[in-house]
Amino acid sequence: MPEFIREFIDKIKFIYLGDSRYLKLIEGFTNTLKITAGALVVGIIIGIVIAAVRSSYDKNKESLKLRGGIGYHILKVFNAICQLYLTVIRGTPVVVQLMISYFVIFAASDNGVMVGIFAFGLNSGAYVAEIFRAGIMSVDPGQFEAGRSLGFNYIKTMRYIIIPQMFKAVLPTLLNEFIALLKETSVAGYVGVMDLTKAGNIIAGRTFEYFVPLFTVALTYLVCVIVLTSLVSRLERRLRKSDR
């Protein structure tokens, strides 16, 4: 074995095995996955609710006005709240939102992962909402009428008819959002959460070796993204079964 390879392997052994530093990396990676997965779920739930409110307001305001009653006013208030949320979340940096969540809103808690899920979920929800809304609006209005004419109420039409079709239409865009989310969680270290990036940074700081830890971190993100992409393209193929 050439000298330089053996030196390199020794270096890696020193970096990761010394002081069991590899445990830091594992902990960081686990936290990154936890935050991403949690934020994903929170984001999708927020996204569906907001997209449903916003698109039903856009689609139904005329007919609701005609039918009278308070339905129109309730929807209008909800729509305004959603609008405000979207403006604030999309108008401020995610790091700032994360710091406000950790140091102000949840100042009493030191569970960084939970705060991370909250902050990134809230942030992601705003983007997912707009993706879903575009998806809902892209489904042929005839689909909606067919659902209603069979006797499905508004919510059931959404649930059984529109949202499954919407998912298929937005899957690629949604994937982009997930990839962005995964990488965005790398700023979690700002509030002291031991995520993958932070772990790499700490190991680098302790060993004065930057090349190996940082490339390990980069490679880990890359592999995650590749796995995610291939999973979604497999799902997409399955959903496309109905397209002939």
């Binding site: 007919s63 005609l66 039918r67 009278g68 009653g69 042929d140 005839g142 689909q143 009428e145 067919a146 209603r148 004419s149 069979l150 006797g151 499905f152 109420n153 059931k156 059984y160 008819i161 499954p164 079709q165 298929k168 959903l239 079964k241 109905s242 397209d243 002939r244």
Partner: protein, 248 residues
């Protein structure tokens, strides 16, 4: 006669932009069980708006619609319950593209009526057989021809066992050679005594199957009567003009 009335429309109005556009300008009529009402008229006459008002896909600006004795234009009425009894067939089929033919047909009975899945599928297959599509149960809508899609759309509505079927230009989006197969299904349905309201440009169908023809223009019913009267002895000048252009 009166207790036979299925749908009663009173002074139905649909205005857009205040009173600028009068899509429906005071429509009144009664539809009895077993009738096949054919609505004809030039484009923009309001016939589709009228049909779509019957199950409130269009919300009228004024007037009342009574379906089986209930005022469905009343805000307190749960329209979804009544829509289950009013089947609708659209010009562009509006089949659910992400579901198989069978799923298209069973989703409403299963989710809305709480029907047993196997039971609903059995009924769906029977209906499919009646329209000659028993072998397409597992196909997706994109794998069907236009005529097949429309036949599926008809039996999808029938799966809910409706009391009336509303047809909104069911053959207008079809290739000419596929019109016949859809009209045949509709004829058969009419012969079985289904109450039907059909907006169409197929004058042959109106003559042969219709029990009553409504001629609409500018949001009003200008003339109504048996097919024989409408096509052979039209009185309204607008109707005469219309027939002279479409019939040959």
């Amino acid at each position: 006669m009166t207790d036979n009335v299925l749908i009663k429309v009173q002074d139905l109005k649909k205005y857009y932009n205040g009173e600028d556009v009068k899509a429906l300008d005071g429509i009144s009529c009664e539809i009895s069980k077993g009738e096949v009402i054919v609505v004809i008229g030039p484009s923009g006459s309001g016939k589709s708006t009228f049909l779509r008002s019957l199950n409130l896909l269009e919300i009228p600006t004024g007037g009342h619609i009574f379906f089986e004795g209930t005022d469905i234009t009343d805000r307190k009425t749960d329209i979804n319950v009544h829509r289950q009894k009013m089947g609708m067939v659209f010009q562009h089929f509006n089949l659910f593209p992400n579901m198989t033919v069978l799923k298209n047909m069973t989703i409403a009975p299963v989710k809305l009526l709480g029907a047993d899945k196997a039971e609903a599928e059995k009924k769906a297959r029977e209906l499919l057989a009646r329209v000659g599509l028993e072998d397409r149960a597992d196909a997706y809508p994109s794998q069907l021809s236009g005529g097949q899609k429309q036949r599926v759309a008809i039996v999808r509505a029938l799966c809910m066992s409706p009391d009336v079927m509303l047809f909104d230009e069911p053959t207008s989006a079809l290739d000419p050679e596929m019109v016949g197969e859809v009209l045949d299904v509709m004829k058969e349905l009419a012969n079985e005594g289904m109450t039907m309201v059909v907006v169409t440009h197929e004058m042959g169908f109106a003559k042969e199957v219709g029990t009553r023809v409504l001629f609409m223009d500018e949001g009003k019913i200008l003339e109504e009567g048996t097919p024989d009267k409408i096509f052979n002895n039209p009185e309204n000048p607008r109707l005469k003009d219309f027939l002279s252009k479409v019939l040959i």
